[in-house]
Amino acid sequence: MANDIAAFFDAEPDKVAAAEGVRFHISRYWEPRMRRAIIAHVQNGASGLTPTARAAIEKLTPVA
């Protein structure tokens, strides 16, 4: 799902802005346990994630 979101924002030529778009979307719409899971996934190697998705999740605020 994170990759699908990134695929939309990847149309943005500015890659930093693209990653910010993904980060903002996930922080607005994903329930905390889902954000926790994707952050853990990145911390464990981010297997399968596109560069934009990974960059976005690395900037997600950790969930308490």
Binding site: A7, F8, Y29, E31
Partner: protein, 951 residues
């Protein structure tokens, strides 16, 4: 015959300058263009009439409505003669009475007094009686009725009958079929005394092109065309204005009651949405409300393998609450959640989300809009600033070019389709963007100028190609964009769509649509001058559903087609209250009025009124709830009026998740598929059993009124109140109007809404507040709700659901006219006479290659699962594409749809599933078991012509 106590003014309303005249000595002022008949009726000097009715254009055939006009020779027909200033009219004189008696006697010679069982239902017999006519001097063996070939009453239609011997051939039915419905199924056959009304080629009504909208029955002045329910029950004694519970058109209806039961449903002629029309579902298919399958007692069970146990309301509610509390104590506050329903009222939906947020203490609330129009909310909010359609339905009468994308209005939104067809017959152009040849592509007096028959899953490629033409050929409205849209986003988007990769030529291999067709359609839409886009689930239910909605908004902004009548972006909502359920804060990330839960000021407002602390994090969406159920972190659900196990994709996955729950509470009117996995069943109430409001696709808030008492004793909102109280969060509403008052106090777009105001105005389109105290028919006038409109770059990203050698066909899904969604309502009505099973539409080439004949059973296999359907071979679908509906659980349509979903909202990609189709001998074992368990019914399949004009 129309509703009880209706004053028929004879001819339609007009909108000219004021004209003053005198009728029978009384002075009256009416708009220019008004007929004398209408003016006289407005002055309470009604002129007798037979062939005239105020829903149809004047016809001038019956010669009963003659009048005298001072200074004019002869006796003109009052229906076809327009008023003029200073005109002096006499409606009553000895000469007129004599002529009318003569004309009426001729009619009575064909239709003797007493022909109709109940003279009060027959305008002719009433009129003849008033003129002192008992028998006709002209009656005899040579008069029309007796030289007609005797014809038995046509009772083939399940809802009404046609008695030729009661017919006076006034043509009101024929004109209603043409003008009101636009189907042209009826005609006058023969000449002179041999004239008679026939359906299609003199076929029984059920076998004909008739779509059973009932407009002809309503128009008939005698008992010739009559509802069977009225024949059985007699004329209604009471009438209750209410709102239809089927599609998002939200027709205003009048429920008529005889001896405490609904005996007839007629469209309300004051209804702004439906303009006095209805369809086969809204008008006739209300019998489900009192069907024997209704569950009227609360039920509980410890395990889903146990038998249900009938209990009191108190025991059921207490058990549900204690289970939810137990689960939360053990697994945490966020281990439970709830689902609101687009079939319930705004007030009920608001209460369920309040229950979840305030009483459960979590934002795990979602709604069935998740699986239909959630991308509409996302896409329109981001581009235009409001999660709703921009127009009212009558706006279509001002459109010059109508583009219909991924929708089949004649099948899914038939009453609006009739309005659209009226505009098309008047000359508007039509562009259809759909993989399937929907009926609008070619039907009587309507033909699409362009049909962009794209491959499923390529919507965004098409919208970008259309935009490419508009931008590169200088068809944009640069002045409009400069004034109303964000400059940076415009420049970025313009550069993106102008890229040759988005050209129609580059997209042709992807979409399967000839480049010149795309270019022609783009030019037609952009040059309008008024271009209006209407779209449906064929836009939203894709992995790029939200992208496509944004693409549509981009195109409309770029061509200046927003912010006035005749233009706009209008989602055709699937269920009656999809708009309302979204408005009411049913999504896990936002409160009513589409305000995010992280917004401190909004949350503080709700906390202050609800006196409870609310969460600032988004909750789980429906598919997230399934995942959480399977991973063990989500254990309890309260579902009001939604059948997830039938309507959501990948049924096996859904049922596995539902089976993993420790407590599933279902509130519904029938034992649905989801109830098989439930522990508590709370009987629901139909729309006839409660007060409240629905909000249709135009943002129109209309009243639902209680017609009969709830069969189970409680309306749905009362059940939610009890559950909340049992959970320890007190609710004390005495009437749904109090809930609306709370909604208005908390929701900026609803601040001016009250039940009293809706009753006074008939309906209200939100926003309704200090700026727009009587509502807002057209949105974004002058400026967009978000301020400046924002263009989004919408790159085409192919779906991951692709064909392969193993799954070489693409399946897409939809509805038919006579059934509705999962069929819970319409399957329990006589609409089964038209459509009693879901079928797979297959192109002749694909059928031949597989050795499949019409009517064969075929196995349909996808990556998610398989099912068996009976096949219909038709050119409605293109080679390589197959299509089915999902109205019957035994068809298992969602066993084969996948979990692919929209990137932004998780709306499932129902419209694209790669499948293989092979001939099989019989249905699957589970289907045969299910069929065997069903009671026998006199089903047969008739497809009204409205559904199958092509192929």
């Amino acid at each position: 015959m129309y509703a009880k106590d209706y004053h028929d003014l004879g001819t339609p309303v007009t909108n000219g300058e004021s004209v003053t005249l005198e009728i029978d000595g009384a002075t009256i002022t009416v708009p220019a263009g008004t007929s004398i008949m209408r003016a006289a009726a407005l002055a309470d000097h009604d002129v007798p009439k037979l062939c005239a009715t105020d829903t149809l254009r004047q016809f001038g055939s019956c010669r009963v409505c003659l009048v005298e006009i001072e200074g004019r020779k002869g006796f003109p027909a009052s229906c076809t003669t327009e008023v003029t200033a200073g005109m002096k009219v006499r409606t009553q004189s000895e000469a007129l009475a004599k002529m009318r008696r003569g004309v009426l006697e001729l009619y009575v010679s064909e239709h003797p007094m007493g022909t109709c069982d109940d003279a009060s239902r027959c305008e002719l017999e009433k009129l003849a009686g008033e003129h002192g006519i008992g028998e006709s001097r002209f009656a005899g063996p040579k008069t029309a009725r007796h030289v007609h070939t005797p014809k038995p009453v046509d009772a083939s239609n399940p809802y009404f009958s046609f008695d030729n011997d009661s017919c006076i051939v006034c043509s009101r039915c024929v004109r209603a079929c043409e003008e009101t419905q636009g189907t042209y199924a009826l005609t006058v056959q023969g000449r002179g005394l041999q004239s008679r009304i026939v359906a299609s080629q003199n076929d029984p009504f059920l076998e004909s092109e008739c779509v059973s909208c009932g407009a002809c029955v309503e128009a008939c002045p005698t008992g010739a065309l009559m509802e069977k329910s009225v024949i059985t029950a007699g004329l209604p004694q009471q009438a209750f204005p209410t709102t239809c519970a089927y599609c998002g058109v939200g027709c205003a209806l009048i429920a008529e009651v005889t001896d405490g039961a609904v005996s007839r449903m007629v469209p309300n002629r004051d209804g702004r949405a439906n303009q006095g029309h209805a369809c086969v579902k809204g008008r006739f298919a209300y019998g489900y409300a009192t069907h024997a399958d209704r569950v009227t007692k609360p039920l509980i069970r410890k395990s889903i393998t146990d038998d249900w146990r009938e209990v009191s309301w108190d025991e059921a509610i207490d058990y549900a609450a204690s289970e939810f509390k137990r689960i939360q104590a053990k697994h945490g506050r966020d281990s439970i959640g709830g689902i609101t329903s687009s079939r319930c009222t705004n007030e009920e939906t608001f209460l369920v989300q309040k229950l979840v947020r305030a009483a459960f203490g979590t934002n795990n609330v979602d709604t069935c809009a998740r699986v239909c129009h959630s991308p509409t909310g996302y896409g329109l909010k981001h581009t235009l600033g409001e999660s709703a359609g921009t127009q009212e339905f009558v706006s279509v009468q001002h459109a010059d070019v109508i583009m219909v994308i991924g929708a089949s209005p004649t099948e899914a939104h038939p009453v609006f389709a009739s309005q659209m067809k009226r505009r098309l017959r008047a000359g508007a152009k039509l562009i259809v963007v759909d993989p399937r040849a929907i009926p609008l592509v070619k039907s009587p007096h309507v033909e699409a100028d362009y049909h962009l028959r794209l491959l499923p899953g390529t919507n965004v490629a098409i919208i970008n190609a259309l935009a490419h033409v508009v931008v590169t050929e200088g068809l944009t409205r640069d002045d409009y964009v400069a004034e109303r849209c964000e400059k940076d986003s415009w420049e970025k988007w313009k550069k993106f769509v102008a890229d040759p990769i988005n050209s129609p030529e580059a997209m042709e291999p992807i979409t399967g649509v000839k480049a010149e067709l795309i270019r022609g359609a783009a030019r037609l839409y952009a040059r309008g001058p008024n271009g209006a886009i209407y779209y449906g689930l064929g836009v939203t239910e894709h992995s790029q559903g939200s992208t496509m909605v944004m693409g549509i908004a981009n195109l409309a902004m770029a061509t200046g087609n927003l912010g006035r009548e005749g233009v706009g972006v209008s989602p055709l909502r699937g269920q009656n209250n999809v708009q309302g359920s979204c408005d009411m804060g049913s999504f896990p990330h936002e409160f009513s009025g589409y305000r995010h839960v992280s917004d401190d000021a909004t949350r503080a407002l709700f906390e202050s009124m609800w006196k409870v602390q609310l969460g600032n994090e988004p909750g789980l969406r429906i598919p997230n709830m399934f995942e959480a159920a399977l991973d063990g972190s989500f254990k309890g659900m309260y579902i009001q009026g939604e059948d997830l196990a039938q309507s959501d994709p990948n049924t096996s996955h859904v049922t596995a998740a539902l089976s993993a729950l420790e407590c599933l509470v279902i509130q519904d009117i029938f034992h649905n598929e989801t109830a098989k996995y439930a522990h508590v069943f709370l009987p629901g109430s139909s729309f006839l059993e409660k007060d409240g409001t629905f909000t249709n696709a135009e943002r129109r808030i209309s009243r639902v009124r209680k017609v009969i008492e709830p069969l189970a004793g409680l309306a749905d909102w009362e059940v939610t109140v009890r559950l909340s109280n049992a959970m320890g969060y007190p609710m004390s509403y005495r009437h749904p109007s109090e809930i609306m008052d709370e909604i208005a106090a908390l929701t900026p777009t609803f601040t001016g809404v009250t039940f009293e105001k809706i009753d006074r105005l008939g309906s209200i389109q939100w926003p309704c507040n200090a700026k727009a105290p009587e509502g807002t028919p057209t949105m974004h006038v002058g400026q967009f709700v978000r301020g400046k409109g924002k263009f989004y770059v919408t790159a085409y990203v192919p779906t991951t659901e692709r064909t392969s050698s193993k799954y070489p066909l693409l399946l897409t899904t939809g509805r038919v006219l006579t059934q509705y969604n999962v069929g819970a309502q319409t399957r329990r009505t006589q609409n089964l006479a038209w459509h009693s099973e879901d079928r797979l539409e297959l192109h002749p080439h694909d059928a031949e290659a597989r050795g499949i004949d019409h009517g064969d059973w075929v196995g349909v296999t996808s990556r998610a699962g398989d099912t068996v359907l009976r096949v219909e071979i038709t050119e409605r679908v293109a080679p390589g594409v197959v299509y089915t509906t999902f109205h019957f659980p035994e068809s298992g349509a969602n066993l084969i749809t996948t979990e692919n979903s929209d990137w932004a909202t998780n709306c499932p990609e129902y419209k694209v599933t790669a499948v293989q189709v092979v001939k099989v001998a019989q249905p699957a074992a589970w289907q045969r078991r299910r069929q065997a368990a069903m009671p026998a019914s006199p089903r047969r399949r008739r497809a009204p012509r409205e559904e199958s004009p092509v192929g």
